[in-house]
Amino acid sequence: MAQESAILDEVVQSDYKYGFTTDIEQDLLPKGLTADVVRFISEKKEEPEWMLAWRLKAYEQWLSMKEPTWPNVTYPKIDFQEIIYWASPKKKEGPASLDEVDPELLATFVKLGIPIEEQKFLTGVAVDVVLDSVSVKTTFQDKLEELGIIFCPMSEAIREHPELVKKYIGSVVPTNDNFYAALNSAVFSDGSFVYIPKGVRCPIELSTYFRINARNTGQFERTLIIADEGSYVSYLEGCTAPQRDENQLHAAVVELVAHADAEIKYSTVQNWYPGDKEGKGGIYNFVTKRGICEGARSKISWTQVETGSAITWKYPSVILKGDHSIGEFYSVAVTNHMQQADTGTKMMHIGKHTRSRIVSKGISAGLSQNSYRGLVKVLKVATGARNYSQCDSLLIGDQCGAHTFPYLEVANKTATVEHEATTSKIGEDILFYCNQRGIDTESAVALIVNGYAREVLNQLPMEFAVEAQKLLAISLEGSVG
């Protein structure tokens, strides 16, 4: 506690270089976004000048941009001047023990098979014993350092590895890429930075570590992963445990750079609060994720299991620049009740003999709307490019919607582009058939949904595949009468 207040004091009392004179209480800015707010954030994070200049440029660009209206989602207009863009990471008073935590949440943890210690961590229970994870964390850190792998918060990377951040930040998702990316660039709070040196194969799933490390990164997260030549890294973001947050709007940016012969595998399990059955209070998730296969024979693979959020707007994409590079996108997006998801990918073929594979599995239940939106673009120079896309929709009940918007732009005659799509429905007939074989309705839905999503779940790191499987079933509980 003493240490915390010392940190707070230090942050609050440091001189403010940019003449920002408003009487601000230590840990919260007033609502709204101005250039001064951007300066304040940068100052709080003790950023160098170039970073501030970068943020301010993004802010200027953002001012002239408009919110996209093309996604197939509806929500009340967001007033961006009503949002608080900085709150210092002050610790909230957590529950003293698991007994004080919402029993419904705990029941979900049990169903997911999350260990007790991790449950405590996730619910913010004050832990007085030295948690195993601390030593685990240290062990990881030693191992990574030995190999020259950099894995740290983005804010630390800006201070400790400015040459790398400066070179790569915004190189895949430019500040003016889209409205939310510009906003993120101006005000991003924190995130993760990963650098894998040449020829190094990261020996652990960065997931394990990340799970312990990833809380409170805020609503504008920024992640940058660089895999240098011939390296490999598998990174897992998110958590199967339900995530609640007071911030309704989340606008993250993730950039991946794979150099020659490098491979990045990026997996996401997203289970943010989707709102109640009437759709009130859920999180709006507007994310920009993009990777570039910069070098020859490099590979980027996105796998996502999306079950949460009231609105999901995200298109993890790959720019296939290096010859013979490979881009993959595996997605399961579940919407239930009033959730809306507009998600998919973009595969941009530039290099010769580049290959991409898209497997999208949408599952809609309740009154939800689930859209796949994907673009496969083959440039004129991309000789011998190949794409295979498969977009499947599964409907549970008859009041939900599934939509597919595949776009193909092929400018090279040697390209091979395949697209397959199916729509199926879990109707009364199938459920009754399962019932008649002794399988109750909820188990039947779980069985069918997991069978349907298997191809994508198989892409996840083992430990998460099992949890994600359970998560799918839980997300759809009560979806059939």
């Binding site: 058939y433 008649q436 074989r437 399988i439």
Partner: protein, 255 residues
């Protein structure tokens, strides 16, 4: 001796329309009953009501299954208690392999009986053994349930599932429809192999043909929601010769 199934004055229908108008039927252990009748007489409705399909409403009467109130049980409970319906139109479930589906099903039944789930190796060898009954190829196990199966393959898969689940009462709803003579022989062979003195079978069929292979102890004729005639296997032969019209005429007089 407790009958396996005791139906008394059962009436049931769909959306206000009464289809079963008072069925009474007793099925004892070891027996095979055939229920025949023209289209629309209520044969498939009876099968659906016994299995608990939600579209149908029971408006009167009782059904006792091994001494328990069947109508009080959810469809999955009926299955776990040992009631099996071979569907006239088996559904396709993409993405769920036949093996995985059956493993889930068999283990649900075992759980209900207080047994441990079957170990994977034991389960696999049991499946291999039972598939032989209906001459099904092992490659079906890894294929999605009924997905892309021919009509005959689907029906054989039903009997294979029956062999795996070892029901107390099997209701075969027009299992012969759409089968060629070879498939019919295979399916019937499977059913016969599963007959025992402690279980019973109800064969619902339109044609006498199946009964050449599965020889019933009792034949019932269903007409207009009622059992209008019961007899031995020779009744089926008589129907084959004379059609249903004479029964319709007689029952019209009686009514």
């Amino acid at each position: 001796m407790t009958p396996i199934l005791q139906i008394t004055d059962l009436t049931a229908g769909i959306e206000e329309r009464e289809i079963l108008k008072g069925i009474t039927l007793t099925v004892n252990p070891g027996e095979v009953h055939a229920i025949m009748g023209p289209n629309g007489s209520g044969k498939s409705t009876l099968a659906s009501v016994l299995a608990g399909r939600a579209d149908y409403t029971v408006t009167g009467g009782t059904v006792s299954f091994m001494g328990k109130d069947l109508l009080d049980m959810a469809p999955e409970e009926r299955a776990r208690e040992g009631m099996f319906l071979a569907f006239q139109y088996p559904v396709e479930i993409p993405g769920v392999s036949t093996a995985n589906f059956l493993k889930t099903s068999v283990n649900e039944l075992r759980k209900h009986r207080g047994q441990e789930p079957l170990a994977p190796a034991a389960f696999l060898s049991l499946m291999r053994e039972r598939m032989k009954l209906v001459e099904m190829d092992q490659s079906f196990l890894s294929r999605s349930l009924n997905d892309g199966f021919s009509g005959g393959e689907k029906k054989r898969n039903e009997i294979f599932q029956m062999a795996m689940l070892e029901p107390v009462l099997a209701v075969l709803d027009e299992t012969d429809s759409g089968l060629d003579i070879d498939a019919l022989r295979i399916v019937a062979g499977g059913v016969n192999a599963l007959r025992s003195s402690s279980t019973a079978t109800i064969v619902i069929t339109h044609y006498q043909r199946l009964l050449d292979y599965i020889v019933p102890d009792v034949v019932h004729v269903l007409w207009n929601g009622r059992i209008v005639r019961s007899g031995g296997k020779e009744l089926a032969l008589e129907l084959e010769k004379r059609g249903y019209d004479w029964i319709k005429a007689e029952s019209a007089v009686e009514a």
